[in-house]
């Protein structure tokens, strides 16, 4: 076969400039061969399936082959050769036959032409054939199609439309994946971890959609390359800068505006991308009716930048830099966790990530990546009041050096590597900022740790039917000094009052180590060409966790390393799936079942303030969690109408044993996790009405999240108090919402340099007042307590429809 195609190609070359004679209507006409190639821009990889049309004395069409080549036989004359495929800018070249006989096209993706048909590397049938389960890859094009809140295209919100993903509610930071906590998702932007994925306290995610290439989301079957979090991996890749041409792209939205510039510094050798986003949302607060929001401020900016250097075909160097900052000022002290009276609190948080990666290809089969990552997350709370002026700083610093080696040959794909991480955490450093301040300085002990890991991941095609991916990761963690570890009286609950002494560890001395093997397995068995069965198992260790006891986490909440008391979290998951495609891969269906066990999940002693807690082991409880569910997905990939429907059944319960008397009514009993929503339906549809215009909609439904209701009330010291006992046994009303969007894309064939498009969307179209929570209040300032009734109230965060508009452009 290989020989034949070589010969064919050889002949093709030979005949290239010579006329061939063919008999048409009895007349012998000279025909000339025109050959050409279509390549992806800027990667210059072959582009198959592109429609090639020759317009001239006659009109002939063909499509490109797998290697991107095409061949036309044309009569003498002037032609215009057009290369066209959906999702890319159409290219056109005039030629004169027989003088011109070779054409090359570079097709550039039309980032604004948000199309439905996936022409990219992911083919529909891969759903069945890939050795992957619980994995979703979202291209930025498809994310941009989903109607957005306040016009901001959002990666994290898009993920929430996938089966198995939930959150405690609108406006909350982070997502819960198959029963895992929000800190159990490993969010990587070009290998650098992101500790807080949201801007504006949870309204938007920190990823600038312009600068992204794609997002891969693993909720099961996680390969051994990844480790460090117990539940999922969200791998966000920054777009490669354009090595050929400078380009400006941007957008104006209601809340934030974007601008991206990318292009070559040295053509085809060095290219740079700089994308930035900034909000101007302060003005929104002027419309706020609630007095508590007057004087509030909320602003953010972020910069994403990537430098690509390609000194030779075998070496590539990438440097990615991300910096994002939020400032959130709240009038009053509604969020002051520091037990200090304040007229306003300023929360700010900043992420700064730097990744440097060197790719080296030893051969076509063997390559290596050497990566260095520096990441810092630093939240601060400040109070400007002179009598109590203070600044409370905290921060996480992460340094990682890792080497990954990849080998691909025939039926084998092997990844192996080693990684070393250093963590340094400042859990809290409180300082008075004025001489007149009454605040005493308080600095909590810094935490230090190292994590080392080695892995081997091997994907092998055992037979035509069976493929297996197995992997093993070994991770090791050591908590390091300098640190003073408290000692507690034996046989009593740990409390500040039961500290009996302590041991001081010198700098670099190991306090406590943890470690273990993390096996990973995915097997795929093809039952028929369109049907497969898949099975997976994975174990994940997590040595660092978020300490937060509120319904939704605050950006300033503390990250804590495992130590002498706090054990690492472990997630074990098995899943089983059936995948089937219908009507030539037009419809994709799947059913996935999973069971997950979480070991050492964290919960907290009732009523403890975790801010600036000097001995966190007196407040953190560890227990186990179990989560199981079924996920059904029906997806249509091609045609004018695309989209998916998913139904998820999921249950997540935690079991916490607490030695403290204040927890005795919930100790030892499984209770539903805060984000446990048993039934979820997501419907995402996209309908293309013309070349420029498409409609999109999504409808979501989920069971209300669990809540603790009071079972009775009592009267102490002239106050009625609701009495809560069993945790999360009731649920708030069900949630459902419809969003619609309309995108008007730039004309795909336009020659104009300045191209623009619009995106309109309406969030919560039927203005349902979805419950965020149900709460009980007895206090009423206007009525004397004695006559006061305990009332139940429903809080809705997005209580109405929210229309928005965004203007996008490229230049």
């Amino acid at each position: 076969m290989a020989l034949r195609s070589t010969i064919y190609f050889f002949i093709l070359l030979l005949t290239a400039s010579y006329p061939i004679y063919a008999q048409i209507n009895g007349v012998l006409t000279a025909r000339y061969v025109v050959t050409g190639r279509v390549l992806h821009f800027p990667e210059k990889t072959p582009f198959a399936g592109v429609t090639i049309v020759a317009r001239g004395p006659e009109r002939i069409a063909t499509t490109t082959k797998a290697d991107g080549t095409f061949r036309l036989e044309l009569v003498r004359g002037k032609y215009s050769i057009v290369a066209r495929i959906l999702g890319y800018f159409t290219e056109e070249t005039p030629i004169l036959v027989p003088e011109d006989n070779e054409v090359e096209f570079l097709l550039r993706e039309n980032a604004l032409l948000l199309q439905e048909v996936q022409v990219s590397e992911t083919k529909a049938e891969q759903n069945v054939s890939k050795v992957e389960i619980g994995v979703a890859k979202l291209t930025i094009k498809s994310i941009k199609k989903i109607p957005a809140v306040l016009g901001e295209v959002d990666v994290m919100r898009s993920l929430q439309l996938l089966p198995g993903v939930s959150s405690v509610g609108e406006g909350a930071t982070g997502i819960n994946v198959r029963g895992g906590g929000i800190d159990q998702n490993l969010i990587l932007v070009d290998e650098a971890p992101v500790y807080n994925s949201s801007h504006l306290m949870g309204l938007f995610s920190v990823f600038n959609p312009d600068a992204l290439k794609d997002v891969t989301f693993y909720r099961g079957g996680i390969p051994a390359q990844f480790g460090g979090r117990a539940s999922s991996v969200i791998e966000v890749k920054v777009k490669e800068p354009d090595a050929e041409k400078w380009k400006v792209q941007g957008g104006l939205g209601l809340v934030a505006s974007r601008l991206m510039v990318d292009g070559p510094i040295v053509k085809n050798k060095m290219a740079l991308l700089v994308a930035t986003r900034a909000s101007f949302s302060d003005y929104l607060f002027r419309f706020a009716k609630a007095a508590s929001l007057k004087g509030s401020k909320a602003n953010f900016y972020d910069i994403t930048s990537k430098l690509a250097i390609k000194p030779s075909t075998k070496n590539q160097i990438y440097i990615t830099f991300y910096q994002g900052k939020d400032v959130f000022k709240i009038a009053g002290d509604s969020l002051a966790r520091t037990e200090v009276n304040a007229t306003s609190s300023v929360f700010d948080w900043q992420t700064r990530n730097l990744t440097a990666r060197w790719n080296h290809a030893f051969s076509e089969k063997l390559f290596a990546n050497l990566t260095g990552v520096y990441s810092r997350y630093a939240p601060t709370i400040t109070n400007p009041d002179s009598a109590n002026a203070f600044e409370l700083k905290s921060g996480v610093t992460y340094k990682n050096l890792k080497l990954d080696i990849g080998y691909v040959a025939g039926k084998h794909k092997i990844d192996a590597g080693v990684s070393g991480i250093r963590y340094d955490i400042q859990p809290g450093d409180l300082r008075p900022t004025l001489a007149s301040s009454n605040i005493n300085p308080l600095t909590l002990q810094q935490e230090h740790g190292i994590e080392a890991a080695a892995y081997w991941n091997h994907e092998i095609e055992v037979s035509k039917q069976l493929s297996v991916m197995y992997g093993l990761r070994y991770s090791w963690f050591g908590a390091l000094g300098p640190y003073r570890v408290n000692e507690y009286e034996p046989n009593v609950a740990r409390d500040v009052t039961t500290i009996s002494g302590g041991v001081t560890y010198a700098s670099g001395k190991i306090i406590k180590t943890y470690g273990g093997l993390e096996p990973r397995l995915v097997a795929r068995l093809n039952v028929s060409p369109t049907t497969s069965l898949k099975f997976s198992f994975n174990r994940m260790y997590q040595y660092m966790q978020l300490i937060s006891n509120t319904t939704a986490a605050l950006p300033t909440d503390r990250w804590k390393l495992s130590d002498a008391f706090l054990k690492p979290q472990i997630g074990d998951q098995i899943s089983l799936g059936v995948f089937k495609n219908w009507q030539k891969d037009t419809y994709e269906t799947s059913l996935e079942l999973y069971y997950k066990r979480l070991t050492n999940v964290a919960d907290y002693r009732n009523g403890t303030n975790l801010t600036l807690l000097e001995a966190p082991e007196t407040a953190i409880l560890q227990g186990t969690g179990r989560s199981y569910g079924a996920e059904v997905l029906v997806r249509k990939n091609t045609g004018f109408l695309t989209g998916w429907f998913s139904y998820t059944f999921a249950q997540t319960e935690y079991l916490i044993d607490s030695p403290y008397p204040e927890d005795k009514y919930r100790s030892g009993i499984y209770f539903p996790a805060n984000f446990n929503k048993p039934h979820t339906i997501n419907l995402v549809l996209n309908y293309r009405i013309s070349r420029r215009t498409s409609w999109s909609m999504n409808w979501v439904y989920s069971t209300g999240r669990p809540i603790t209701y009071p079972i009775d009330k009592y009267f102490v010291d002239n106050v009625y108090v609701p009495n809560y006992t069993l945790r999360n046994q009731a649920k708030i009303p069900d949630y459902h919402r419809l969003d619609i969007g309309l995108t008007v894309d730039p004309l795909p064939t336009t020659k104009r340099k300045w191209q623009s498009g619009w995106a309109f969307s309406v969030y919560n179209l039927y203005a349902r007042q979805n419950a965020y929570s149900i709460f009980f209040r007895t206090k009423n300032d206007n009525v004397l307590q004695f006559y006061n009734k305990v009332n139940a109230y429903k809080l809705s965060i997005f209580g109405t429809l929210i229309p928005s508009i965004t203007y996008n452009f490229t230049y």
């Binding site: 405690v168 909350a172 949870g202 104006l252 929104l284 419309f287 929001l293 037990e339 200090v340 009276n341 009041d385 009598a387 009454n438 605040i439 005493n440 308080l442 509120t550 319904t551 939704a552 009732n606 009523g607 600036l612 204040e662 009514y665 809540i707 009071p710 079972i711 009775d712 009330k713 009592y714 009267f715 102490v716 002239n718 106050v719 108090v721 609701p722 009495n723 809560y724 009731a730 009303p733 007042q769 965020y772 009980f776 206090k779 009423n780 307590q785 004695f786 006061n788 009734k789 305990v790 109230y793 809080l795 809705s796 965060i797 997005f798 109405t800 929210i802 229309p803 928005s804 203007y807």
Partner: protein
Amino acid sequence: MRRLKNTMGRLLEIIFGGKRLGWVAMIAFLLSQCVTNYDPKITENTPKLVVDGLITNQPGPYKIRLQYSYPYTNQTSVSAIGGATVTISDDQGTVEKLIDRGQGLYETSATGIRGIVGRKYQISIKTPDGKTYVSTPEMLKAVAEFGKFYTEYQEVNSLTVKGQFNMFLDVKDPGTPNDYYRWKWTHYEQLEYCLQTVTTTPAGIIATRNKCCDPCWKIEACNGCILLANDRLTNGQTITRVPLGKIPYDDISTYFVLLEQYSLTQEAYLFWKGIDSQINNSGGIFDLPAATVIGNVACTSHPEEQVLGYFGASSVVYKSIHVPRNTPRAQPYNKEFYNWSDLITCYRCQEGPYRTQKTPTGW
């Protein structure tokens, strides 16, 4: 390029409301959230003993109230526990049995036990059904001296008042760690008329009033306010701007407030902090999860039984404050809606939670 400018100009005009479009205002909804009444339909209830009592370093009698908890939707009066045996004891061997005053109220005798700083106090209860309860010994801690009280005027956009005086307190914390504070305040206003009657007749509204037969004071307390502080971050410094509450600017008369400052143990502080977070729960996304507030009383005969409430021990200092409201600013709205006609007969001042004949401390 001109085309670009035009487009941008148009766009900015739209976004910044050059042409006031409705949707800009709609964004406001997002930020003002939305709270509505909701009926969660809860029925389950097993009555639990509720203990509410306090011993102080001030002279008695001290009151202990015993009640049962009841369904949260119930608006009927409290179900009191009568006929129980209640005793208060300290760690020095002092024991006193309380007198049953009826309606679940038990009192020490006026000449009996008195709280002493440094001692530990506890109560024992035996209910008529034979169950026994005991509280953990509670230390009576000393309390810091009263600090600086001050008010700040704030204009209010309301139809009934033009403004309010916000009350603050600065307290000098002693150098000892783990000091916990609680404040309560009561406002007394001397009443001239003890009965006001408004009758609507076809002829119009008839408003009559009766003078008080005796000196009489109206009592207004900040019920439901749980004012707490601790010195965790400010030990030995001044705890500043403790927000106590607000005084309405509805009159130019001097406003009288009796302020009490209590010392608390750490356990009592956590109890009241828990109560505060339960009753002032706003349902927001950063609220702590709702949970049982555990008091310091346990059932010794049935250890599994849940007991609510707290028996505390505190030192108290009082301060009476006269807040002048007659400062040069716009006169408050007139409070009187009716043309009153005074009747000759006087009306008795009834002693109760909202009225008293006793002259308030520091009046």
